[in-house]
């Protein structure tokens, strides 16, 4: 039933965890001290590129009747929307660029090009999701209240629709994001009243009107007789952005190895254990520089969850240091190709549409969720960990997981 004792699960002592915390603090301090003009130039250029693409796309679509112009315009607009939402909006509202003290590129000022109001996003994402990451019952992003993504959640009949909800969420991702703050799960459990929800909806409604007005009224109208083509182009651009954003987010959170936790784990959690939970709860995917940029550097989801407010352009360099720490403490560093990570996420969603009695694994020992009990199945095995007597190398969680898989653990 998800991880309750993170130290036991990771085969680390209190002292180990505190030491790991200090080493992660040191990474943060190094990056904070070395932020400077080259980082600032990176985000300024990203903004210039994004606005250039948006303007270019809109202008091309004035000739949207022409097929070539339509494709070029739609592509530019889609890329502009992706870059705005991921590398700019998401990261700027995280405060990654607040250190520049630039009032125009600041978490308190940035309103992103999405139907979700930034102010609500900061609460439901920056606060709830990043603080309570993957704690089942506390982090709404564990299934967003509309899907079962871990068998820690009891099965209900409506969850049979899991794959359909998944498809709908991908298609209407920005609307899902907009409604994120409503906390549908809380409403269902009557922890939030409809009156409160209506208040949120009014704020959302205003933003929706502006966003939809721009894409589906103002620009089609401006392009006159081509309005139908422009309308369709804008819709396609929004769709492309929706699917891509959905893909990146799902690959960061739902592949195998992105662990879940119980509220008990959170209750007495230290800062260092928070770090550890972030490391275990997220997943990366392989990306070159271009794909990294297009994902808002969320291909480094682990690094983002460890340091949500450090500049995204530094995640690549941070990732090397985090991997070195994973080696040192023998911890898993969950990553894989985009295709593999997505397939695992999708397969989990598909499987979990079914009731538990049709599933093979338990919530202590499943691909999408594990607990420290996983290693207790065979009595006394945990004691064989610690330093390898022959090589002196630490034998920790990563070794344990590998040996469980290969069966070596059973033989020792």
């Amino acid at each position: 039933m998800a991880i309750t004792d993170i130290k036991q699960y990771t085969h680390l002592t209190q002292e180990d965890v505190e030491q790991l915390g200090r080493e992660l603090d040191a990474i943060r301090a190094d990056i904070e001290e070395s932020r400077g003009e080259s980082d600032a130039r990176y985000v300024r250029r990203a903004i210039q590129l994004q606005r250039g693409l948006a303007a270019g796309g809109r202008i091309a679509l004035f000739a949207s009747k022409n097929k070539f112009a339509w494709v070029a315009g739609t592509a530019m607009l889609a890329v502009a929307k992706i870059v705005e939402n991921m590398e700019l909006g998401h990261n700027i509202t995280h405060g990654q660029w607040d250190w520049m003290n630039d009032p125009e590129i600041h978490s308190t000022e940035w309103e992103w090009d999405s139907t979700c109001p930034s102010v609500q996003w900061k609460r439901s994402h920056n606060f709830i999701h990043h603080k309570y990451t993957n704690i089942v019952g506390m982090d709404d992003d564990v299934g967003y209240g509309i899907m079962r993504v871990t068998r820690d959640e009891p099965w209900k009949r409506w969850m049979l629709g899991n794959p359909i909800y998944n498809l709908l969420l991908g298609t209407f991702f920005q609307w899902g994001v907009a409604l994120h703050h409503l906390e549908s799960a809380k409403i269902r459990k009557k922890q939030k009243t409809w009156a409160e929800a209506r208040k949120d909806l009014r704020v959302i409604g205003k933003k929706v009107a502006k966003q939809a007005g721009k894409d589906y009224i103002v620009f089609p109208a401006l392009t006159g007789p081509n309005w139908k083509h422009t309308f369709r182009a804008n819709m396609v651009a929004n769709l492309i952005r929706n699917y891509w954003a959905y893909m990146v987010i799902f690959c960061g959170h739902f592949p195998d190895g992105a662990e879940k936790f119980t509220p008990e784990e959170f209750e007495n959690e230290t800062d260092a254990e928070w770090y550890l939970r972030q490391m275990l709860g997220s997943a990366n995917f392989h990306a070159g520089p271009l794909m990294a940029f297009m994902s808002g550097n969320l291909c480094y989801q682990i690094e983002h969850h460890l340091f949500p407010d450090l500049p995204s352009n530094r995640y690549a360099e941070i990732s090397k240091r985090v991997q070195a720490l994973c080696d040192k403490y023998d911890l898993p560093y969950t990553t894989g190709s985009l295709g593999r990570q997505y397939w695992q996420s999708f397969w989990t969603i598909l499987k979990l549409a079914l009731p538990d009695k049709l599933l093979r694994a338990t919530a202590d020992d499943a691909p999408e969720t594990n607990s420290e009990l996983k290693f207790r199945i065979r009595d006394g095995l945990r004691e064989s960990f610690g330093a390898d007597p022959a090589t002196g190398k630490r034998r920790g969680l990563r070794t344990a997981l590998r040996e469980l898989k290969t069966g070596d653990l059973a033989r020792t």
Partner: protein
């Protein structure tokens, strides 16, 4: 019908209603309309890519010319961009933001330009001080073409129009700058009140605007300059004020300079029972400085203040006073609690970084570092 039209006008201008305009607020109708296509941005956010001055979202300007005045001071001439109103009064100051190594740093400087005379250019005169990180950059490092941020001119240390018939200016060092704006304005307007100007500097070489002040002595009949060169003559002694300007009690007095000088002046005028006749401009907030040792925190909009140690977060302090502080994670990761720091310094107790006036700070991980004021 009328109310419908007004409603329509309000709707049109809504996205741009807080944007500064230089000439007429009607510009924002156009800006608001265009913003329906650029939402959530303003048209300015795109236009500034073509010309950095074509944006009024944040006031900005470009450095046109840097003119050395003395060994360690210079006049920086700036062409303001959209939205900057040239309608300032002599003696007022302007906030300047300069980007150094990726970060924007803010300070306020007295304007030394005259609105009508200088054809929409503004200028500030800056003296480099060893601890003044920004002033040093402005004097020695800023290139023409550099884009700077501006804050609308403000300040009560401003000469009324028409001016009082008899004036006394008491200045020292770079404290001469707001008074220079006043003297230039008087000259521009052709006004000739009776002015006595006591100015202190270490030596003649270090007198900012030395030649111009001497010229004024010749050309402006009512203007008398008493130059106190402190290396040879020592500091100006207010006990001898009667000797320099016998009728000082009849004059409207304006003083600007280092805190010690202002404190002495304040006492002299208070003892004479004329505190209202003395106008003062203090350049530096005495900084109790580095270490986050606590101080008095003022919550400006709520009009409340509290004495704090260096370990209590500003968020907790505000909540203790019953202020509705924005909050979120309370661990420094979500940015929900960020507020603008109006004055003073705070220390981020996670990283130890000191933040100053004009910055936005995370109240959940900031403690007072001396007296400070938050805008809430």
């Amino acid at each position: 019908m009328g109310s419908k039209l007004r409603g329509l006008a309000r709707w049109t201008v809504a996205p741009a209603k807080d944007v500064d305009t230089a000439v007429t607020p009607k510009v924002n109708v156009l800006r608001g309309l265009a913003a329906r296509a650029t939402t959530p941005l303003l048209p300015d956010d795109y236009l500034k890519l073509l010309n950095p001055l074509w944006s009024a979202r944040e006031l900005r300007g470009v450095v046109v010319h840097v003119q050395p005045e003395t060994e360690d001071s210079a006049t920086v001439q700036i062409k303001p961009g959209w939205g900057f109103s040239g309608d300032y009064r002599p003696g007022q100051y302007v906030g300047i933001g300069l980007r150094i190594d990726g970060r924007w740093h803010w300070r306020s400087y007295s304007l030394t330009s005259v609105p009508q005379r200088d054809e929409k250019l503004i200028s500030i005169t800056v003296k480099a001080t060893p601890e003044g990180f920004l002033s040093d950059h402005l004097v020695n490092g800023v290139e023409p073409g550099t884009v700077v941020r501006l804050a609308a001119p403000k300040g009560d240390f401003a000469l009324p129009d028409p001016p009082p018939p008899k004036l006394l200016f008491v200045t020292a060092g770079s404290g001469v700058t707001p008074v220079m704006a006043m003297l230039r304005t008087l000259q521009k307007r052709g006004q000739q009140p009776d002015v006595v100007h006591i100015h202190s500097a270490r030596s003649a070489d270090e007198v900012i605007f030395h030649d111009e002040l001497r010229d004024l002595e010749g050309s402006q009949p009512g203007y008398r300059l008493h130059l106190q060169l402190t290396t040879e003559m020592g500091k100006f002694d207010f006990a001898g004020l009667d000797d320099v300007v016998q009728d000082w009690k009849e004059r409207s007095a304006w003083a600007c300079g280092p805190p010690a000088m202002l404190d002495s002046a304040e006492k002299v005028w208070a003892d004479a029972g004329l505190p209202d006749e003395l106008h003062m401009e203090r350049f530096t907030i005495a900084r109790t400085d580095k270490g986050g040792e606590g101080g008095t925190v003022t919550f400006a909009l709520s009009d409340k203040s509290i004495e704090l140690d260096g370990a209590t977060s500003l968020l907790e302090a505000g909540e203790k006073l019953g202020i509705q502080m924005p909050f979120g994670c309370r661990m420094g990761i979500c940015q929900s609690c960020v507020l603008p720091l109006e004055s003073g310094h705070v220390r981020d107790f996670r990283s130890g970084t000191e933040h100053g006036e004009g910055e936005r700070i995370q109240t959940c991980i900031s403690a007072a570092s001396g007296d400070c004021t938050l805008k809430i």
